[in-house]
Symmetry: C2
Subunit: 151 residues, 2 copies
Amino acid sequence: MIFEEDKEAMETTFKAENILKSNGLRKTQIRLEMLQIFMGSKHALSVSDIEKDLKSSHDRVTIYRALNSFEENGILHQTPDPNGNMRYAICSDSCPEHVHQDKHAHFICEQCNQTYCLEDVKIPDVVLENGYQLNSISYTMNGICRECQPA
Amino acid sequence: MIFEEDKEAMETTFKAENILKSNGLRKTQIRLEMLQIFMGSKHALSVSDIEKDLKSSHDRVTIYRALNSFEENGILHQTPDPNGNMRYAICSDSCPEHVHQDKHAHFICEQCNQTYCLEDVKIPDVVLENGYQLNSISYTMNGICRECQPA
DNA sequence: TTATAAAAGCAAACTAATTGCGTTAGTTTG
DNA sequence: CAAACTAACGCAATTAGTTTGCTTTTATAA
């Protein structure tokens, strides 16, 4: 018998392998694991978040280099949280390299500092004066997330 | 005869003195100068921007401490630029302390890295699921600003 | 004018992130 | 399947931004 969780794990493993292969990256343990962590997270992760989630401990440099490689290949996008620390999230709708028009809004919790990707909240447009060339928009709400609400 | 520039300079000096006094802060040379720099800039400034603009050179620590003090008093607000470096801008519509609902949108130029405060571009609302407590919104456009447009 | 507390200035520490370099290990090719 | 190639790893050291501790200076108010 096959459990749902197993099926899901198999699927993310398969997807992760695919992402690496299609970008000409090697299939190493940590990179596979990192991709699966991103696929399983609905919010943007900091380097220390990733470190916590990894099964075995690795050098931070390795994590940084993997993140940069993923970013360069358009697999991840990065944005600083309100404290200026970088967070990374997987590009759900395969962004062309380096063009990350995050079409959805984000919510950052002031308590737990998590960045939630609100995939189904579309960013509304505004009217921009002439002369500006617009490439992307980020819409970020700040407040208290559901988990951190006082009862 | 009094020139326009002088009048303006006088006015910003006067305003700056007022801001300091009304927040119970001391009127020191560098703090006055910093406030005037912020009043004269339409975009958010990094610490090194400020250093460049100051007439006399000062210890960075002094600048950092002034910035933090201004931020705590609701005179400035801070946001990270896309590289994660902090930038500071004056709160035009006197924000209550620590609540910086930037009601206007920002534009960040990918070329010169400047953050423009688009004072008259209001941030549109979105519908947020129940359970989230919304405190503030930031709306940031990325692209090429007017100064950096290729001719 | 003197007292006092805020702000300045110097040195040192801390943290996030990057770079250099030798080693390990996926992947490709013969 | 072995050899060769090079991406990726891991350690040490460095850089950059920011903060902290402590002493000295100085704006302000008694």
